[in-house]
Amino acid sequence: MKIFNFSLDRFQASQLFSVVRTKKDIIATWMRAIKLMSVYVDPGEGARFGSMRLHVDKMSRLFFVKEDKSYSINFPFFTDNSAERLTFSAFACSPVDNRVTSEVLSLLSTYNLLDADDIYSFLDPISNSLEVEPAIWSLLKNLMMCDDGYIRVDHDEVRANGNLHPLDHIDVFYEGASTFKIGLVDRLSLNDFADLLDVGSDCHFLHRK
């Protein structure tokens, strides 16, 4: 198993912890995480506002950890740490580097691709991007179709409300229609959270309270 840890400055923390509502947010998070890991500079003492961890094993997952909130998503890329800097690739596109991630982010944010009602508004920007990166459509398609495995651990003192909204809980899924909570009897550490999701370690069990 390989684990890579990254401290986040306040800008990175605020970006990577912004609320996840749609698949578009997840794809943007993947892209930003790759950018950050590719040219990482430690923020230094006193400027750390959270952290990010990449687990590479049978499962490849990203963990984002802040004082009272952690979440994790699938990381559908290959990681190579043989050189000085980490590099990434995907089946559909190799490498997935700073340039490719910028292209994807631009499609998502400037052209609002995933909100396009009209097929041509979806198609035209991608067709232009193909001139820059021929693999962009395959990559984007895979990212759109990929199971993102979103799961969040909350320690929510503000909105805690008995068994309906337990102080410590896990949120599974992000869309309003599918999300639900599983209460926790106490706080989950990052290692416990990672262990919960590790397909190579023993399973965790639910006990009805």
Binding site: V39, D97, N98, S102
Partner: protein, 677 residues
């Protein structure tokens, strides 16, 4: 042709002829703006009963009223009325709070000559000077109101600025003679073409023209268009702000009276493009964008179809086209045919400094040679850098007439063996001249370029910020020129380190495709069109020789209006840095480009190389064309391309590439390399 320093709106006649001509000569000699008017420009509602007078406006001087009628009472009342109207214009554009009511400025800033026959330029020069800089500034603001060059008073303010950054940012901008003529003259012809270098204010002028046309009649249909969708969108967002700013009272009736869209459009929305709207208006089938359809063909097809329609109807009254260099001629013909009144066509004098010829086939009605975005010295260096003027092998050379069109005065020395290329100084940058600021600084870095460039850029930002206490995030543009992953890695690295250092959010414009207020702009070379910053930092590892690259380099350096910094790798530019530094020193110290012209043979070689290339062509496409000539089999091409790149670098020297490709292709065929592929 009238000088850009002089603008005459009042009628020239036998009575005022002598003085008007003196003023015109004086303006050219002193290189100072002079406007002669008989009513405020920009609003048609002002008119006066008095005759035989002129009003002369010269920035930083008193407003000059000269009478030739010999009816002193009537002249006095006219001046009073005029000042009252000026007071109301000042109120309309909210200048009044800053410059005060007419009674506070009229006493010191008005000069009246009731006997125009006896007045001459020398008397005017002596008697209209203003000593106090604060009053000079108010006089200048009054000139801006009377010529319709409305400035945002919250930006320029009436109090004199104290530091250099503010002096340049808060400079009161005035239209020059050419610009004023374009906006206010009503030429009875179509199309009307306006051309100039980038930064000469074409888009701004089109907006002013649009406003003039929109308020002129209540039911005209006007479309403003350009090729690129993102540019069209940003232009569309600018229009309401601009109309508000210019106090246009009429509401904007989008998609009913006014359109601002890109040229093509999409199937789903009738109002999404000029061509799309025209198809709908005339009931033609719309052809959507694809690789195999050229815009030229769809325009020609549409035009032919419309000509067949018996009842001639007009889709628009006016069409305003920006960035005309991006269009085929057929689009102009189509627009011309579907508009009732006039088509205005504004474009760059060349799309790229490497266009084969810069003399337009149809000469423009208005040629703007003065670039107001960039200090003339910066522009001179940018041209030199782009064209490789300081390098042993130049990439581009212009004919004397072409230099003139680009705003250069050509002086030849020592029997034509040296050229001195000079540009006139501009009012906007007079404060830079006074403070002796170097317009461009070259900084070379050592070691890994991504990391050393990031360090260097951070250091520059610190320095600019130390020297300019009123600096904001909007004042700096960072443009990364190379076209590889390193560029994007550098942008991502800068995002981390700049935000931490300055607290400013970094806007990576290659992702957002827009400029965002309050955020520091970082972009690759593709998103800088139409942008300007007080300070530009341009980073490139190696100063390459491809045309597309050099043109981008030239464009980037011209984005600054105080200073540009060029960050390059020392190791990769050993042969060229020394030459650039000494050329730059010449421009900074002497104020002109001094250069040895290429020999006839060299000029011929430059011309042929340019002829065979297309400045917007990628190296890949360029090489593929050579391969086509050599009939290289597709299977060999990827490998041969690699060999060519390794051997000649990304050099667009066709002869060289041809030679290397031919030799290696033969080797491959002889060795039967096909099995390895």
């Amino acid at each position: 042709m009238a000088s850009s320093f002089f603008f005459l709106q009042a009628e020239k006649n036998d009575v005022n002829k002598n003085l008007v001509e003196q003023m015109e000569n004086w303006s050219a000699r002193e290189k100072t703006q002079v406007y002669i008017i008989d009513k405020p420009l920009g609003d048609s509602k002002y008119s006066y009963d008095h005759d035989d007078y002129i009003v002369v406006l010269i920035p930083k001087r008193k407003l000059i009223f000269i009478d030739f009628s010999e009816d002193e009472d009537s002249f006095e009342s006219f001046v009073e009325d005029f000042i009252e109207d000026l007071g109301s214009i000042s109120d309309k554009y909210r200048y009044k709070d800053s410059i005060g009511r007419p009674r506070t400025w009229a006493r010191d800033l008005i000069f009246k000559a009731s006997d125009g026959h006896s007045i001459d330029i020398r008397t005017l020069e002596e008697q209209t000077a203003i000593e106090d800089p604060a009053k000079q500034r108010i006089a200048e603001l009054l000139v801006s109101l009377l010529t319709g060059s409305i400035n945002d008073i919250d930006r320029v303010r009436a109090d004199p600025p104290s530091n250099l950054l503010d002096k340049v940012k808060r400079k009161i901008l005035l239209f020059d003679g050419d610009q004023t003529r374009f906006v206010y003259q009503r030429l009875k012809k179509s199309p009307i073409r306006i051309q100039g270098l980038s930064g000469t204010g074409k888009t701004e002028l089109l907006l002013h023209k649009l406003k003039e046309l929109y308020v002129q009649s209540a039911d005209s249909k006007i479309i403003m268009t350009c090729h690129n969708k993102i540019l069209a969108d940003s232009l569309r967002r600018r229009i309401p702000d601009f109309f508000n700013f210019m106090k246009v009272e009429q509401q904007i009736k989008w998609d009913e009276r006014l359109w601002c869209v890109h040229a093509w459009g999409s199937q789903s929305d009738r109002d999404s493009g000029t061509y799309r709207y025209i198809c709908n208006f005339y009931g033609l089938p719309f052809q959507r964008y694809s690789y195999s359809t050229t815009f030229d063909r769809v325009c020609s097809t549409a035009l032919e179809a419309i000509k067949q329609i018996k009842d001639r109807r007009y889709a628009f009254d006016y069409v305003l086209i920006d960035e005309s260099q991006d269009f085929p001629e057929s689009f102009f013909q189509l627009c011309e045919y579907v508009s009732r009144e006039t088509v205005f066509i504004a474009g760059d004098i060349f799309q790229s400094i490497f266009d084969e010829t810069i003399t337009a086939s149809i000469s423009p009605d208005f040629l703007l040679s003065k670039c107001y975005r960039t200090d003339p010295k910066t522009l001179m260096f940018a041209h030199s850098l782009g064209m490789g003027l300081f390098e042993p092998q130049k990439l581009r050379w212009l004919e004397d007439e072409e230099w003139n069109k680009c705003g250069y005065a050509v002086e030849k020395r020592a029997g034509d063996s040296y050229y001195r290329l000079k540009r006139e100084p501009l009012r906007r940058f007079e404060d830079l001249d006074k403070e002796n600021i170097d317009c461009v600084e070259i900084i070379s870095t050592k070691g890994d370029f991504t990391e050393s460039a990031a360090k260097s850029i951070l250091e520059i930002v610190r320095k600019i910020s130390r020297e300019n206490p009123t600096l904001t995030a909007d004042d700096i543009g960072i443009i990364l020129l190379d076209n590889n992953n390193k560029t994007y890695a550098l942008a991502d690295l800068l995002e981390q380190v700049l935000q931490r250092e300055t607290g400013w959010i970094v806007n990576k414009a290659h992702e957002t495709k827009q400029r965002i207020n309050g955020e520091i702009f970082v972009s690759n070379r593709n998103n800088v069109k139409g942008l300007e910053f007080p300070f530009v930092i341009c980073a490139t590892e190696q100063i390459g020789r491809s045309y597309a690259y050099r043109n981008a380099l030239y464009m980037t350096v011209t984005r600054s209006f105080i200073k540009s910094f060029l960050v390059v790798s020392e190791d990769h530019n050993k042969g060229i840095i020394g030459n650039l530094r000494s050329g730059l020193r010449g421009i900074n110290e002497l104020g002109y480009i001094e250069v040895q012209p290429p020999t006839k043979a060299e000029i011929e070689k430059i011309r042929t190389t340019i002829k065979h290339s297309n400045a917007n062509e990628s190296f890949y496409d360029f090489v593929q064309r050579v391969f086509d000539d050599l009939k290289v089999l597709p299977l060999f091409r990827p490998r041969l391309l690699e060999v060519v790149k390794k051997t000649v670098g990304e050099d667009f020297d066709r002869e060289n590439v041809h030679r290397v490709a031919e030799f290696n292709y033969k080797m491959m065929l002889d060795r039967g390399d096909i099995e390895d592929i």
